[in-house]
């Protein structure tokens, strides 16, 4: 049993705390795919972390922190989780009730919480954690703060736990392998005001709503905090998830949703822990980091030599080495620092192991070199193998001389052939990689919502999986064999597109030095480029007005192009379906109002539509094209003229035509004067408009005068004509 930390729960806590048992929801499914292919066969929460399933760390912590009732929500491999809990000591503890809630169709934390809401089991403030959390933080203080805030302000629905952790200045990821996090916190009240966890590299700035400073005299912006994914929630959180049925992810949807919603006024607060440990295993890198933290005793009392539920005794020796009681160790084997060796494992002569975890009942041969690896149970490693920064799951057999390069992951029961070299960052499994279609879907989820598992095979029960497995094994074994060497069994999963980027970021292997240099180089290059372009730093002093203006310009342009498309569609409908002109005018006016544009814009959009129609009508020679234009203009000039109430609008049409010639329809480029003349003859554009346009263009740059030069003669003629008239 872990000693209770942070004082006795009943002592200084409020009466409320005593009356209502403290409840917790433990999500035994991370709704992510980062631990594939391992999680295809076993749920993530049951994966061993320093030889103890992750969920045991979470439960042991909750128990020691004074939680009395835990609801374990299982979805993927729910049967395995329930079976594990049934056979563990967690069921039937006094003062610590563990019950499971099973679901087969939840695809996100949001679904899980909605389901729990329907069960009506939560009746007060509760702790929300995932089953992959390792922590030793006392909850009393955070809970007390949360309840005090609640009493004053009913809208304070959630307190999230954060911890100091500066992301690397090179990779911009935290030591846990998660993306850097930007948060704005009110330094006085600790209210969370802004949360950005998925860094969009293109955006060099954080944009905070101006309203924030209206209410707060100062705001702290942080880039040095880590989200522990330990939340203290009020019961409203569950109903909020039910109300907003599209909320899936706890942070990306729920937290951000609450922060931008200023109608309901719900508030989220932060609680920063300093001395205690809290982290979540999100990916392979955090698996590596947290394992090392456990071995180096940051998580005390959840360390290998203190017995809590689920682990068996081991002894701490010199240099941070833990050894279980029954280890068969050859005299010449060298077990380096910060290494854990599980029960019943035997290690051959001249074998070197350092910074690694070896599970139970493993057989490691002679002359094996293991560095920074996580070797689970019942693994056989034959003589002369070499393993670097890899994860080796239960039942794997590595034949003699096989090599694992950094970042490799061998899933359950894979056999690596003799002398075979498993390349860096490769993932080997007995199961074939899900087909591309699925993974596309998955990628989409990954990017947009959180990586939700949408593949039925994941949530299928282990029996079903075994069935599939059993039938497939015989024929797949032969095919798979060649992938991992002679006598090997397993498929090497191909990395998705752009997957490489992710692999080194999130693997157990340290980031290679050349990669780091590469990043620094590109970062510097980018800086230089952006400096040259002046994108990053606009030449004028004020950044904001510039960029904001750009934004609004872009918006306006976007708006305009949508508008143009709609006008075109309307016009084409008119052409093909013989809609009356009046109706078109009505429709175009409606569009103008809805896009908040001027009648000048209507004129240029309509003109564009007409020219487009003309160029889209089949033609062989430029002459025919001009004929097309003539036909269209003759037919529709009344419509166009409806929007040409002044000279300015006519000039706008000429300018639009120029743009058309230059950009979208280059066909018109040599025909500029001809069409202009046509427009003049048809009385669409008056002489004055052309002359005004010409004089306006006189001052333009040389490159801009292309069409002016083309039209030189025509303009001259116009000038002379007008003089004659005078």
């Amino acid at each position: 049993m872990v000693a209770k930390k942070g004082g006795n729960r009943g002592e200084d806590a409020e009466d409320e705390l005593k009356r209502e048992p403290l409840q917790a929801i433990l999500l035994a499914d991370s709704f992510a795919t980062k631990f594939r292919p391992i999680t295809l066969e076993r749920p993530k929460v049951l994966l061993p972390l320093v030889n103890v399933p992750m969920i045991d760390y979470t439960l042991a912590w909750l128990e020691s922190a004074g939680v009395e009732e835990v609801f374990v929500f299982c979805c993927a491999h729910s049967k395995q989780v329930i079976d594990y809990l049934k056979n563990s000591k967690w069921f039937g503890q006094p003062n610590f009730a563990v019950s499971t809630i099973e679901s087969h169709d939840s695809i996100s934390a949001g679904d899980a919480l909605r389901l729990i809401y329907e069960r009506h089991v939560i009746n007060g403030d509760f702790i929300l954690v995932t089953g992959d959390t390792v922590s030793n933080m006392p909850l009393i203080q955070a809970l007390k703060e949360h309840k005090e805030r609640r009493r004053k302000d009913n809208n304070a629905v959630m307190t999230i736990v954060i911890k100091q952790s500066k992301p690397s200045s090179i990779t911009n990821q935290s030591r846990l392998g998660t993306e850097e996090l930007f948060m704005a916190i009110d330094p006085g009240t600790k209210q969370l005001l802004y949360y950005e966890d998925k860094a969009d590299d293109r955006k060099g700035t954080i944009s905070l709503d101006k309203g924030l400073l209206m209410d707060n005299a100062s705001i702290s912006l942080h880039n040095d905090k880590q989200d522990c994914y330990i939340d203290i929630c009020s019961p409203e959180v569950l109903s909020l998830f039910t109300d907003n049925f599209d909320y899936q992810h706890l942070r990306r949807h729920f937290v951000k949703g609450l922060l931008v919603d200023d109608i309901m006024g719900y508030k989220i607060f932060t609680h920063e822990i300093h001395a205690s440990y809290a982290a979540r295993i999100d990916n392979y890198r955090s698996y590596d980091t947290i394992s090392k933290d456990i071995i180096q005793r940051w998580t005390y009392p959840l360390v290998p030599d203190v017995q809590f539920f689920g682990n068996c005794a081991s002894k701490l020796e010199r240099r941070g080495m833990y050894r279980a009681s029954e280890v068969g160790l050859s005299r010449s084997a060298q077990i380096g620092p910060f290494t854990v060796i599980g029960n019943g494992t035997s290690i051959g002569s001249n074998t070197e192991i350092s910074d690694s975890v070896v599970g139970e009942d493993c057989v490691i041969g002679s002359n094996v070199s293991i560095e920074g690896c996580y070797i689970w149970n019942n693994v056989t490693i034959e003589n002369g193998c070499k393993l670097r920064h890899a994860i080796v799951c239960d039942g794997v057999i590595m034949k003699s001389g096989a090599v694992l390069e950094p970042g490799a992951v061998l899933s359950f029961k894979v056999v690596v052939g003799q002398q075979f070299i498993v390349p860096a960052y490769s993932k080997v499994s007995l199961l074939q990689q899900p087909v591309i279609k699925d993974s596309d879907e998955e990628l989409e989820y990954d990017d947009n919502s959180s990586g939700i598992i949408g593949i039925p095979s994941i949530s299928s029960t282990p029996e079903k999986l075994n069935d599939q497995f059993g039938t497939k094994l015989s024929d797949s074994q032969r095919r798979a064999g060649s992938e991992v060497g002679d006598g090997g069994v397993g498929f090497i999963w191909s990395l998705g597109e752009g997957g490489h980027e992710e692999e080194w970021r999130h693997s157990v292997a340290p980031i290679p030095a050349d990669k780091l240099i590469e990043i620094i180089r590109t970062a510097t290059d980018e800086l230089e480029i952006s400096n040259q372009d002046g994108n990053f730093l606009p030449p004028s002093g004020e950044l904001e007005p510039d960029s904001v203006d750009n934004d609004s310009d872009e918006d306006a342009r976007d708006d305009y192009s949508y508008f143009e498309k709609e006008v075109e569609a309307t016009f084409l409908r008119a052409v093909h379906e013989n809609v009356k002109e009046d109706h078109i005018i009505l429709e175009v006016n409606a569009l103008r109002l809805s896009y908040n544009l001027t009648s000048t814009d209507c004129a240029s959009a309509l003109f564009y539509s007409m020219m487009k129609l003309a160029s889209d009508t089949p033609h062989d020679t430029p002459g025919e094209l001009v004929k097309n234009v003539a036909t269209v203009i003759t037919k529709w000039k009344q419509l166009l003229k409806d929007y040409l109430s002044s000279i300015d609008e006519e000039i706008e049409v000429i300018l639009k035509f120029e743009e058309l010639c230059l950009e979208s329809t280059k066909e018109y480029t040599p025909l500029f004067v001809q069409v202009l003349h046509l427009l003049y003859d048809q009385d669409v554009i008056q002489e004055k408009a052309i002359l005004d346009w010409a004089s306006e263009k006189e001052e333009a740059e040389e490159s801009d005068k292309l069409f002016l030069k083309q039209a030189e003669k025509f303009i001259q003629w116009l000038n002379e004509a007008s003089e004659e008239e005078d």
Binding site: K166, P167, S168, S169, I170, N172, E180, F182, A184, P187, A199, K203, G204, T205, I206, S207, L208, D209, K210, L212, L213, M214, A217, S218, I219, S220, L221, H222, N223, D224, L516, I517, I520, R521, T524, L527, N531, F536, L537, P539, S540, G541, E542, L543, E544, P545, S547, V548
Partner: protein, 465 residues
């Protein structure tokens, strides 16, 4: 603070010209710099402040020839024997950056202290200069607590406004040690969303964004940098809105030093080279913790394989008890006059009587006339019977009739006020004549204007056409 002089600082006072926002208070004869605050020109507050700190070599830059003449005449009359003041006239509307560009050739010292001529404050400039030198910064700005009333607030001012939310002058981001300026939004930007550069936040880990500080427009610049920026960025108009934000924004990817090599400025490029070289050794030698700039400059791997150019933008935050205000609006004019004879009367340079007011010995008061606390009455002014003056400043040689009430107002020199007038929350410029029974509330009356008998105005600006 003798050091300030020994430190090779050159002082430039930007005295402005005829500020449009101060019409009708300013006129051809009275440019902004000469507007009276407690019966002496506002410019004298800055010059006295500098003089106290032994900064006696000044360049006063005035927009417009006429204004320059007026200012020059006043300075030579007042400071002739004590200070060495050069008055430089620059064209109107060139902006603060343009003004410095125009006097570029006169800037020779290593660092330049630029002070706005409309600043009324008691923060020692030496403190800003020392901060600047200590960090070897390219710019150091003086920040002070924003006054209680907002910049755009109008109407009568007084204690009742104190409860108001602080006005938003600037949005400023500082590092946790409050020494470095990481972001500044000025002018119209203040009303927009706050955009903070991630690269700076990454380097500094944590920043504090505040809306309760005001850029007081007192800056120490490294001369070479200032000249570089002014020459290269020809579109820059304003120090506050363009130059300072630019320097702040580019602090982690400084364009200054590299450009310094090309510029033919003497010793500038050498400076840059030396800086880059000295840095690591300085770090080792210095026991103090390096700033995030220095760490960042060393590159992410801590080695100097890739040197990044950075520069430092520092701040000196004035103590809350210090007074600091800029006379840049009519409201500010009234507020500053009120404060200088009121809460901040140590600035006025007068000794206040037991009744907490200043009545010049030559002033004449009629019977039953009362002058309340926080008031000032200039020399040679006369007041009739049964008058009442509260929280107001009255200038020199004014003739005020009987039964006149003056509350929270500023009355300049040579003004005639008829019997039975009531003036509240107003500013009356020189040579104005108020005939009998005029009632003014929250008005500004331009120089030489005549208000006819019995008229009543509220919140209006009266001036000669």
């Amino acid at each position: 603070m003798e050091i300030a002089r020994g430190m090779d600082f050159q002082v430039v006072v930007l005295a402005g010209g005829f500020s449009k926002s101060l019409v009708p208070l300013v006129s051809k004869k009275v440019p902004k710099a000469l507007l009276p605050v407690a019966n002496r020109p506002v410019l004298s507050y800055v010059i006295d402040l500098l003089e106290q700190k032994n900064l006696k070599d000044l360049i006063v830059v005035v927009e417009g020839e006429t204004a320059a003449h007026s200012v020059s005449a006043w300075i030579s009359g007042t400071y002739i024997d004590r200070l060495h003041v050069e008055v430089a006239a620059v064209p109107e509307d060139v902006g603060t950056a343009g003004a410095l560009r125009a006097i570029d050739h006169r800037l020779t010292a290593k660092d330049i202290l630029v002070v706005s001529g409309d600043l009324v404050c008691d923060v020692p400039p030496g403190a800003v200069a020392a901060t600047h030198r200590r960090h070897d910064a390219v710019v150091t700005a003086l920040l002070c607590t924003a006054p209680a009333s907002g910049p755009s607030d109008s109407g009568s001012s007084g204690a009742k406004d104190k409860a108001k939310k602080p006005g938003r002058y600037n949005i400023i981001a500082l590092d946790p040690t409050k020494q470095f300026l990481l972001h500044i939004a000025a002018g119209a930007e203040v009303e927009k969303d706050i955009r903070v550069q991630k690269s700076i936040l990454r380097a500094v880990s944590q920043m504090e964004i505040r809306a309760d500080l005001m850029d007081a427009h007192m800056y120490a610049f490294k001369r070479s940098v200032l000249q570089d920026v002014l020459n290269q960025k020809e579109t820059f108009q304003s120090l506050r809105r363009d130059v300072l934000p630019y320097l702040v924004r580019s602090q982690l990817r400084s364009e200054l030093l590299s450009n310094g090599v090309q510029s033919d400025e003497n010793g500038n490029s050498k400076d840059a080279m030396q800086n880059a070289k000295i840095l690591p050794s300085q770090l080792l030698a210095n026991a103090s913790t390096p700033s995030f700039h220095e760490l960042y400059a060393l590159g992410p791997d801590g080695s100097s394989s890739i040197t990044r150019k950075t520069h430092k933008c520092c701040v000196y935050i004035a103590n809350k008890s210090k007074y600091c205000a800029r006379l840049n609006s009519i409201q500010a004019f009234s507020d500053i006059n009120r404060d200088v004879v009121g809460d901040a009367n140590h600035l006025s340079g007068y000794s206040f009587s037991a009744q907490n007011n200043v009545i010049h010995p030559t002033a004449v008061l009629g019977s039953k006339t009362t002058v309340g606390p926080q008031c000032m009455l200039g020399d040679g002014s006369q007041m009739g019977d049964k008058c009442s003056v509260k929280k107001s400043v009255i200038g020199r040689h004014c003739r005020i009739g009987s039964n006149v009430k003056v509350v929270s107002s500023v009355i300049m020199d040579h003004i005639t006020i008829g019997d039975g007038c009531s003036i509240q929350g107003s500013v009356i410029c020189s040579n104005v004549q108020l005939q009998e029974r005029v009632i003014l509330k929250d008005c500004q009356v331009g120089a030489g204007f005549v208000v006819t008998a019995g008229s009543e105005y509220k919140a209006e600006s009266l001036a000669k056409k």
